[in-house]
C-alpha cells in the first residue's frame, strides 16, 4: 500500500527583486506619499475649491507624477527625490498605458466645475491611494499635516533607517532638512 505524500499549497510564481529595490520601494515610496503626495493632493483640492481651475490642473500633473513615481519604485524608478533633476523619470518601468492614463487623468481637470470636478478630485485621490496600497503597509500611511501625523511619520523613518544605511541607500528625509539653517 502506498501512502500519498502531502503536497504544500502552490507558491505563486514571481520574479524576486534585488533587496535594495524591495527596501527602497517600501521606504522611499512611503516617504514620497507622506511628504509629497498628500501635500500635492491638498493643493489640488484647495485650488479647485478656490476657483483656481488652472492651478488645480497644474498641481494635478504634479500629483500624478508623484503617484506614478511611487509605483515605478517597485521596478526601475530612481530612489532619490529629485529637486531639480531634469532626467528624473516618474514613468520608469511602468506600462505605457498606465503612464498615459495617469497623464490623461491629470489633464482631464481642464474646464471642469461642480460635480464633474469633484468626481475628478475623487479619481486623483484614488490614484494616490492605489499607489499607497501597492507599498504593502497594513495601515494607512500617516498624514503629517494633522497633529499626530508627524510623530507617526518619525516612527516610520526609524523603521527603515538602519536597513537603508546598511544597504548604502539614501535616507528618506529630504536632503534640505539635514542642512544647517543657512
Amino acid at each position: 500500500m502506498t501512502t500519498q505524500q502531502p503536497t504544500a499549497p502552490a507558491v505563486p510564481a514571481e520574479q524576486l527583486p534585488d533587496v535594495r529595490r524591495l527596501i527602497g520601494f517600501r521606504a522611499h515610496g512611503a516617504a514620497r506619499v507622506v511628504l509629497e503626495g498628500h501635500a500635492a493632493l491638498e493643493d489640488v483640492e484647495g485650488s479647485l475649491h478656490a476657483g483656481q481651475a488652472e492651478t488645480a490642473v497644474l498641481m494635478a500633473h504634479e500629483l500624478v507624477h508623484i503617484s506614478l513615481s511611487v509605483r515605478s519604485l517597485a521596478t526601475r524608478g530612481e530612489l532619490s527625490w529629485p529637486q531639480g533633476q531634469v532626467t528624473f523619470d516618474p514613468f520608469a518601468g511602468l506600462p505605457a498605458q498606465e503612464a498615459a492614463d495617469g497623464e490623461r487623468l491629470a489633464a482631464a481637470g481642464t474646464g471642469l466645475t461642480g460635480e464633474a470636478a469633484e468626481d475628478w478630485l475623487r479619481q486623483l485621490r484614488d490614484h494616490l491611494a492605489e499607489s499607497e496600497r501597492r507599498l504593502g503597509y497594513p495601515e494607512r500611511l500617516p498624514y503629517i499635516r494633522a497633529g499626530s501625523g508627524m510623530f507617526k511619520a518619525i516612527g516610520l523613518v526609524r523603521t527603515w533607517s538602519d536597513h537603508l544605511e546598511q544597504l548604502g541607500l539614501p535616507g528618506v528625509l529630504p536632503g534640505d532638512w539635514a542642512l544647517p539653517g543657512d
Binding site: R20, R21, G24, H28, A31, E42, E45, G46, S47, H49, A50, Q52, E54, T55, V57, L58, M59, E62, H65, R76, E78, L79, S80, W81, P82, Q83, G84, Q85, V86, T87, F88, D89, F91, A96, A99, E103, A106, A107, T110, I144, R145, A146, M150, E165, L167, G168, L169, P170, G171, V172, L173, P174, G175, D176, W177, A178, L179, P180, G181, D182
Partner: protein
C-alpha cells in the same frame, strides 16, 4: 539696471495685514497667538515675518501660513516646524540671521561675474543653494514683519529692491533653458518625459515674463494666478493648452522660446539685467547626479546609482564620481563638482554622454558662455 521695482511687486503692509487678519479670523486665531509661534525655543527673534501664499493673495482654505524667524545663533536645522495650534497649520522656519544676511548679499551682488548662474555654481549643490536662497530672501521681502528691531527692519526694506526681481526672473529664464535642453536631449529615447520637460520649459518661460512684469512670489505652482493678477489672458490661455496635454513637443519649445523673447523685451524696456539671449549663447554643464559611483574597468567605466542601476560606458577618461556616503539623505546634493562634459546648448552632447544623461546618471546645469547674460 532698473531703478525701481514694478508697482505690483510688493503689497502694502496694510494689504498684507488685511490678508493676514482674514486668515486668522477664519480660524479663530489671534495676532498674539501667531506672535507666540515665533518663539520656538531658540531665543528672542531678531525678526519675525509672516509670509507665503496667504500673504501673496493666492492662498486657499488649505494653505498654511508661513512664519519666518531670524535668530542670532546657528544651532538650528532646516527641519520644518509645523504648529497645529487651534487646528491652524503654521509652518515655522527658523534661520540664523547672519547667514540669511550673507545669502541676501550674495544674491544682490553688483559683481556680474559672480552672479548666478555661472559654470561653477550650476551643479546640484549650487542649484539647490540658490533655490533655497531665493525662497528665503523673497519670502522675507514680500512678507509682513510682525516683530523685530533695528537694524533688521531697515535690512528688510533693503531686500525690496529691483535687484530681487532681476535674480528671480533670471532663475526662471535659467530653468526654462535647462528644461528646454533636457527635452531636446531626451526626445529620441524618452519622448514622454521629453514632452513633460518641454511643457515645463514653456511654463518657466511664462514665469520669467510675469516676474519681469512684477509678480515676484517664488513658487512655480502659482503661475496661473500670477497671470490672472496681471491680466495676461493670452499667456493664461497658453497655460491651459499646455496643461491639457494638447501641445506637441516642438510647439512647446517654440512657445518657450517666444515667451523668453518677450521676457527679454520687457526686461530691456524696464532696464533690468535679465536677458536670456539666444540658447546658443549658453552652455550646458553636466556633472554626476547624486548617488552615482564610477568604477574603471577593462573597457571603459561602470557607472551606477545607489548600487541599484548600472551601465558600462565606453568612456575611460570620466572624472571619478564621489560615490554614496552612508546615511546620506534622499535628494542629497552631493553629486560632486567635477564636470563630466560641457558644450553649447544648441549642440547635442557626444553619444556616450547622452547615454549617461538619458539613464539619469548626470546633473544638467546651464550658464551663459561668457559669464554674463548676453544682450
Amino acid at each position: 539696471m532698473s531703478t525701481a521695482p514694478p508697482k505690483t511687486a510688493f503689497g502694502t503692509d496694510t494689504a498684507l495685514r488685511a490678508r493676514l487678519d482674514a486668515f486668522l479670523a477664519a480660524r479663530s486665531f489671534t495676532f498674539d497667538d501667531l506672535l507666540g509661534e515665533a518663539d520656538q525655543g531658540h531665543g528672542e527673534p531678531l525678526l519675525a515675518v509672516a509670509a507665503g501664499s496667504v500673504l501673496a493673495g493666492f492662498g486657499t482654505h488649505r494653505s498654511d501660513l508661513d512664519l519666518l524667524v531670524l535668530v542670532d545663533h546657528g544651532r538650528i536645522t532646516r527641519m520644518p516646524i509645523t504648529s497645529h495650534r487651534f487646528g491652524t497649520l503654521i509652518d515655522v522656519t527658523v534661520r540664523e540671521a547672519a547667514a540669511v544676511r550673507a545669502v541676501a548679499a550674495e544674491l544682490a551682488t553688483p559683481d556680474a561675474a559672480s552672479r548666478w548662474p555661472q559654470t561653477d555654481t550650476v551643479g546640484s549643490s549650487g542649484w539647490n543653494h540658490h533655490r533655497r536662497s531665493l525662497n528665503t530672501v523673497s519670502r522675507l521681502a514680500l512678507g509682513l514683519p510682525l516683530k523685530g528691531a533695528e537694524p533688521w527692519r531697515s535690512w528688510l526694506e533693503e531686500l525690496r529692491g529691483p535687484w530681487l526681481g532681476d535674480v528671480l526672473a533670471r532663475w526662471w529664464v535659467t530653468e526654462s533653458l535647462r528644461c528646454r535642453t533636457a527635452a531636446g536631449w531626451l526626445a529620441g529615447s524618452n519622448p514622454r518625459l521629453a514632452r513633460v520637460r518641454a511643457r515645463e520649459a514653456a511654463l518657466h518661460a511664462l514665469h520669467a515674463r510675469v516676474t519681469v512684469g512684477g509678480e515676484w512670489y517664488f513658487n512655480a505652482k502659482w503661475l496661473p494666478e500670477k497671470l490672472k493678477a496681471v491680466g495676461d489672458e493670452k499667456a493664461l490661455s497658453q497655460v491651459r493648452d499646455l496643461l491639457a496635454g494638447d501641445v506637441p513637443l516642438a510647439e512647446a519649445i517654440g512657445r518657450a522660446d517666444a515667451a523668453l523673447a518677450e521676457a527679454d523685451r520687457a526686461a530691456a524696456g524696464a532696464g533690468t539685467a535679465t536677458r536670456s539671449g539666444a540658447p546658443g549663447s549658453w552652455q550646458a554643464v553636466v556633472r554626476w547626479a547624486p548617488g552615482v559611483s564610477t568604477r574603471p574597468v577593462d573597457r571603459g567605466t561602470v557607472v551606477d546609482r545607489w548600487g541599484m542601476r548600472a551601465l558600462q560606458s565606453e568612456l575611460s577618461d570620466l572624472p571619478p564620481a564621489p560615490g554614496t556616503a552612508a546615511g546620506g539623505t534622499s535628494g542629497g546634493e552631493s553629486g560632486g563638482e567635477a564636470v563630466v562634459w560641457q558644450g553649447p546648448l544648441d549642440e547635442p552632447p557626444p553619444p556616450e554622454v547622452l547615454r549617461l544623461f538619458v539613464h539619469d546618471m548626470l546633473w544638467l546645469g546651464v550658464a551663459p558662455q561668457t559669464g554674463e547674460v548676453a544682450a
